[in-house]
């Protein structure tokens, strides 16, 4: 696959949220406003790219330096290694956010430490970065991270617009608009993502027929 294809697969064809249904908890929880969505997306992009890079580098280093036997034993403990790598980067994000973006850190709350258990990140480390070179792993991490962010923004666009009449905190809807409070509340998240998924299924079915 070419570099471009590796990048763009994460955005549409293998979009982590809409296609693979991974990382659902943060997707639904933080999509109440576009600001939150972008903040969460940026954090995930950083952790994803950094962990992909380090995992791919470590695997290359092990393959270079270790004997057959050593490699076998490393293979058995590779998942814990990945988790430690990911958790370290998440801790960095946690501390940076708390120091420089306290408001964002407050509104994302417990979902920042929970990036550790976001299946997208461990999934890419195990499924892609551990088998590919550093450059491709970075491209893959960027593509998947941006795909995740776009999905979050797509969901929060609907929720913020209908739920509070705002976009990025600026009033969009006119005076007479009554906010659909339900959209900001938890049920709105479930309904919006359900409709998005159904819409994508419908588009796919149409494409197949054509």
């Amino acid at each position: 696959m070419s570099v471009g294809a590796e990048f763009f697969k994460g955005i549409y064809k293998e979009n982590p949220v809409f296609r693979l249904a991974l990382g659902l908890c943060p997707t639904l929880a933080v999509s109440t406003s576009i600001t939150n969505a972008i903040g969460m997306g940026a954090a995930v992009i950083f952790v994803l790219v950094a962990s992909n890079t380090l995992v791919s580098f470590l695997m290359w280093l092990f393959a270079k330096t270790l004997s057959e036997e050593g490699l076998n034993s490393i293979n058995k403990i590779r998942i814990p290694i990945f988790i430690v790598v990911i958790a370290s980067f998440v801790t960095i994000v946690e501390m940076v956010m708390a120091a420089y973006f306290p408001a964002l850190s407050e509104s994302l709350g417990i979902f920042i430490p929970l990036i550790v258990v976001n299946c997208i990140i461990l999934g890419r480390a195990e499924g892609f970065a551990s088998k590919n070179g550093i450059f491709l792993s970075i491209v893959d991490g960027l593509g998947m991270g941006i795909g995740f962010t776009l999905a979050l923004v797509a969901i929060s666009f609907v929720r913020e617009l209908l739920g509070s009449g705002q976009l990025l905190g600026a009033m969009i809807m006119g005076e007479g608009f009554k906010p659909v409070l339900l959209m900001i509340l938890p049920p709105g998240a479930f309904l919006v993502i359900g409709l998005y998924l159904a819409g994508l299924n419908w588009i796919d079915a149409r494409k197949k027929q054509a």
Partner: protein, 219 residues
Amino acid sequence: MEYGVFQLIILSIFINNFVLSRFLGLCPYMGVSKQMDSALGMGMAVTFVMTIASLVTWLLYTFFLAPTYQNVFYFIFDTPIQNVPDLTFLRTIVFILVIAALVQFIEMYIQKVSPTLYKALGIYLPLITTNCAILGVAVLNIDMFFKDGLPLPNSFINTLVQAFASGIGFTLVLVLMAGIREKLELANVPKPFRGLPIAFIVAGLMSIAFLGFAGFSVE
């Protein structure tokens, strides 16, 4: 804020339900809710691991990470209190590693001690490590029942109650969902909605129903 036990139970099961209002543990909620039996098994396994993980992480946080008078460096090694290291920033790394190891131990222990229990819970245990509900409840306990690294009154009891009740709340909605999805198999769902989309719509409707509990006053 201080919580009573009964208040905490109602809060964790209904008002702040883990799945429907906190959005934790959605993967098993969508993945293991196709049959009643497996939903019940998964719910019990999660409740069990959540309670034990909360217990262990509470102990670790109090005695090792937080720089307080309970820290082992202070009361065993006699380090002056101002020199006790503040390791609270290691929370995420320590908790996830402990949970991963704990799940392995629980699995081995159950396999040895009770083959029947292992048959019921066994296949769900490995899936639980990356379940955000477990890490979620551990982090949530620290956020709610500690202030500046110091445990609030009753924080230990509250931690256990919240973990267990949240697990029960998770099991409740998982079993309800399984009941609905078993019926849904026979329904004539529009084609684009089959599978995940309709499951999300159902979850949304359930969530609306659970919003009703938010009107409860539990003072």
